[in-house]
């Protein structure tokens, strides 16, 4: 008889709660009357994310000292808990954005997949060996492939799903190959054991290990949508249903950046010289591609997709710094960044439903005056993305730049500053489109009648504004959390 390892269910709870919710939502889509399926699915998925948030908070409070659990497959620590908190909150907000979406006849499946994807991302944040790393990655990726294609009557949605599937699988395959090489070099799966084996067997600079590390970095590059592995981002972000895009931009990025920090810092401290410079190169590429790409966009979702690539660059500055302040800065930055992206896509979703067509800079004309709350919210998000003060976006940039400077990489700060200057043009362009062009310039008449009042979506946008501004004012409390979380990783 084979004895299973001791399972720490408490450590698993944040990722199991959304998974359970997914199961209940799926059941609901069979058992619940048709007209109740959408509210039922949304409520169950929301409950799953709330439960996950609560569990993650408890886990954060009760795991001051990180420890490997479940036979070393998972880490029970504050770092994973913090990532789980962000993902769960993002999931909850996205449900608010999704509720008004026309989901036709499969709302139950939609919410189930959303919750399942959230569970996978949270699981990934706790991953502590190469197997759970791949498991978590595939878990949420497969859910997302389907979510992207869920709007089956829209060709673009199907195209997005397929594209994401092909490119995403490619990324996963490379990551898996990299894992195999690392395992081949060290003979170990656990992150901490890989580091120990590297120093014990004097493997620093070993070709197999370095090759594996490089492939892991490529895999992470795909998931964080860092250039030059970003090719899928604009098409998928544009084609996927807008709430799904919102979820991908906020939650996927959080999970991917978190696991990247954990893997690099825990498993490859000996190769720090190599991966910091590699990540710095990714930073420069992402900032250049993201910002130059966004300059040329007229479609708002594509513009935000390139903005997401550029923000992958800003977040990875903190990773490239490779120091404690860098980790703190990234964990902090993910909070306002997540709020801003979900909020921005929420506003896009609102406009989309109002017009019944894709949102471009042109048909945003007059939006700010017609819908003052959503317009002001969108303005706040754009200013936040651009790093204006009074938003957490500014503090995030300030902190990652500080981390880079502390690591002695002042030139990375200069690159970041130049990219920010470039980004102003298109972020302010959105505000210009909303407020400074009269609605008479609008090419396209609204779909007819007064726009639907979506209280839930407006609440989400308002919450995202509140998070964006509050994270500027109350930096220190959030930074304290990030500090405690960052202590879980070795430097």
């Amino acid at each position: 008889m084979i004895h299973g390892p001791h399972v720490d269910w408490f450590a698993l709870a944040p990722s199991l709660a959304p998974l359970a919710a997914a199961a209940v939502a799926l059941l609901g889509s069979v058992l619940v009357p048709r007209s109740w399926r959408s509210p039922f699915g949304a409520a169950v998925a929301a409950a799953g994310f709330v439960a996950s948030f609560v569990f993650a908070a408890l886990l954060f409070a009760q795991s001051p000292h990180g420890e490997p659990v479940v036979a070393g497959a998972m880490a029970r620590d504050r770092f994973g808990a913090m990532a789980a908190l962000i993902v769960a909150a993002a999931g909850l907000l996205v449900i608010g954005v999704s509720y008004g979406e026309r989901l036709r006849d499969h709302p139950g499946e939609y919410y189930a997949l959303l919750a399942a994807a959230g569970g996978g991302m949270i699981f990934l944040g706790f991953a502590y060996n190469l197997i759970t790393l791949f498991l978590g990655l595939e878990w949420f990726s497969i859910a997302l492939y389907v979510l992207c294609a869920i709007d089956g009557e829209r060709e673009r949605s199907l195209e997005a799903g397929l594209k994401y599937l092909v490119v995403g699988s490619f990324g996963s395959a490379i990551l898996l190959f990299g894992s195999a090489l690392v395992y081949g070099a060290t003979g170990r799966l656990g992150f901490a054991e890989i580091a120990a084996a590297t120093s014990a067997q004097h493997l620093t600079g070993d070709a197999l290990l370095v090759g594996g590390l490089a492939m892991l970095l490529v895999g992470f590059g795909f998931k964080t949508s860092a250039a030059p592995f970003h090719m899928w981002t604009p098409d998928v972000y544009e084609g996927a249903p807008t709430p799904v895009t919102a979820f991908m931009s906020a939650a996927t990025k959080t999970a991917a950046v978190a696991v990247m920090l954990r893997v690099l810092l825990t498993a490859f401290p000996a190769e720090k010289q190599l991966w910091t410079i590699t990540v710095a190169v990714l930073v420069c590429a992402s900032l250049a591609v993201g910002n130059f790409g966004a300059l040329a966009q007229t479609g708002l979702k594509r513009l935000l997709a390139y903005s997401s690539v550029s923000h992958a660059g800003f977040l990875l500055i903190g990773v490239a710094a490779g120091n404690r302040l860098g980790t703190e800065a990234v964990l902090y930055y993910l909070i306002p960044y997540g709020a801003m992206s979900i909020g921005a896509f929420a506003v896009v979703a609102a406009r989309e439903r109002e017009l019944g067509t894709d949102v471009t800079l042109d048909n945003l004309a007059g939006f700010g005056w017609e819908r003052p709350l959503l317009g002001a919210a969108m303005g706040t998000f754009m200013l936040g993305f651009a790093g204006f003060p009074l938003t957490g976006g500014f503090m995030g940039k300030f902190l990652v730049f500080s981390a880079a400077d502390e690591a002695g990489w002042w030139w990375l700060t200069v690159v970041g500053v130049a990219a920010t200057a470039l980004s102003l043009y298109y972020y302010l362009g959105v505000i210009r489109a909303m407020y400074m062009r009269p609605a008479e310039e609008l090419q396209l008449a609204p779909a007819g009648g007064s726009p639907p009042r979506e209280l839930l979506l407006q609440t989400v946008a308002g919450t995202c504004v509140a998070i964006t501004v509050a994270s500027f004012v109350f930096v220190q409390p959030l930074l304290d959390l990030a500090q405690k979380a960052a202590e879980s990783l070795p430097y």
């Binding site: 005056w369 002001a376 200013l383 204006f388 003060p389 009074l390 500014f394 503090m395 940039k397 300030f398 730049f401 500080s402 400077d405 502390e406 002042w410 700060t413 200069v414 500053v417 130049a418 920010t420 200057a421 102003l424 043009y425 302010l428 505000i431 210009r432 407020y435 400074m436 930096v475 220190q476 930074l479 500090q483």
Partner: protein, 532 residues
Amino acid sequence: MLTTVLIFLPVAAALAIWILPLSRFAAGSFALLVSLVEVGLWVDLLIRFDFASSQLQFAQQTSWISSLGVSYSVGFYAFSIWLAGLSVVVLAAAVAYAFWVGRERARAYFGLMLFLTGAVIGVFTSQDLLLFYACFEAMLIPLYVLVGVWGGPGRRAATIKLVIYTMVGSLLMLAALIVYGLDEGTFDLNAMGPSSNTWIFLGFMAAFAIKAPLFPFHGWLPDAYRKAPPEVAAVLSGVVSKTAVYGLLRIVIAKFPGPVGDFRVPILVLATVGLLYGSLLAFRAPDLRGIIAYSSLAQMGLITLGLFAANDLGFDGAILQSVNHGLVSAALFLLAAMVERRTQTGELDRLGGMARGRPLLATVLITTGVLALAVPLSSNFAGEFLVLAGVFQQGWAWGALGAVAMVLAAMYALRLISAVLHRDPGSAVSDAALDLRPAELGVVVPLVACLLALSAWPAAISGHAFGGNQAATPTVTKQAKSSFQNEARAAGPRWAARCVVLSRPNSDAIGAPCVLTSHSPNAPQQRVVISK
């Protein structure tokens, strides 16, 4: 506490205006009321301010990001109180004018104006580098929208140019302040020691040179000043440009004595070129706002000359001239707006002869114009004289070139007066165009009255800009200074005591003004003069 109220009262009022469903009239009158309360608070502050002391007053400090040494720290030095006063007065006039004109989308408009007021006061009071940066950038948000939404034709290009120019400068400052702050271990301006890093210095210099603007960084200026709504142009040239003066004085000159010394000549050259070039362009400008815009460029050059003369005369003159120019250019922009409202154009070719039958307009415009050309006995004359006397000590040529610019100022100011008021009535001037209305007088006369009061007593500012009266400035001996510096080295790099000689870096000349920064982070800088 009063300082915090002065910053956040208008911000809170802005939020209230945005949220409450006020009518246009209610929004405007509420905004005007708040602006006037700001002026009242400032007067209260002025009365209670102790000009004999050189300490930071009305200070408040609360930790913000403790792990990086960032705090919410505000307070007034003597020179900042004058710049803050200029801001509240000019912004109140601008709000009053906008209320009278009846701007469209009143709630958005007045909310943004009040938000701008709070941000500007924040810049003039912040004692923390990151807070300063946050306020400096926050100013740009309302300005972007104010110019872009309520401006004239071509406003969109103007506003994007304004924002991108200034943001590029500001972002360089951000990079510089991160490096500087992390090196010092704190962002508290009163605790940060001087730095000799040229790159950091250039980062800050870029931000302020663009904001001021200093030649050749003035590319955004003509468009922004022409296309903005006139009262916003008044705020831009009168108040917002002065944040650069404050930054140069509080950060660049106080914290980078070494690089300032190295770059003194190039900066003085740029300032002089800006002064002469701006004056010439103002003389050649085809429209009213062009004249005022380029004269602003010239005046900012003059103020920079005063700042980088690096002696008491120059500093006092620069502060006095900042206030003078703020009031003059705000009054002129508002007068230009009043003329444009009557004629629908600012082109000088189509104006003229407006003095006939419009005595009030003629009187106010001539008074302001004459003050602008720095006629002797005016406060502008006092300010320019102090600046030129100060910069003369750096070399007679600076003084001589500055004096040439004063002649040019007379030329463009007189051209403006005669083009509007005298000559034959222009094609755009109809007899139906009324004289100034009482409300318009109510907006512009207080500004002119402030100028006349300053003309009567310019020393109100020039003698009270830096705390402690000059005669009682404490002195340190050369020996004491060097022992002070040795002690500082022993104490380590942070919180160190340093003596920064203002006139020439590390000069031990007797009589050289000098700033002492002591060990304690709470004790502010002390101005002394080196004695035997």
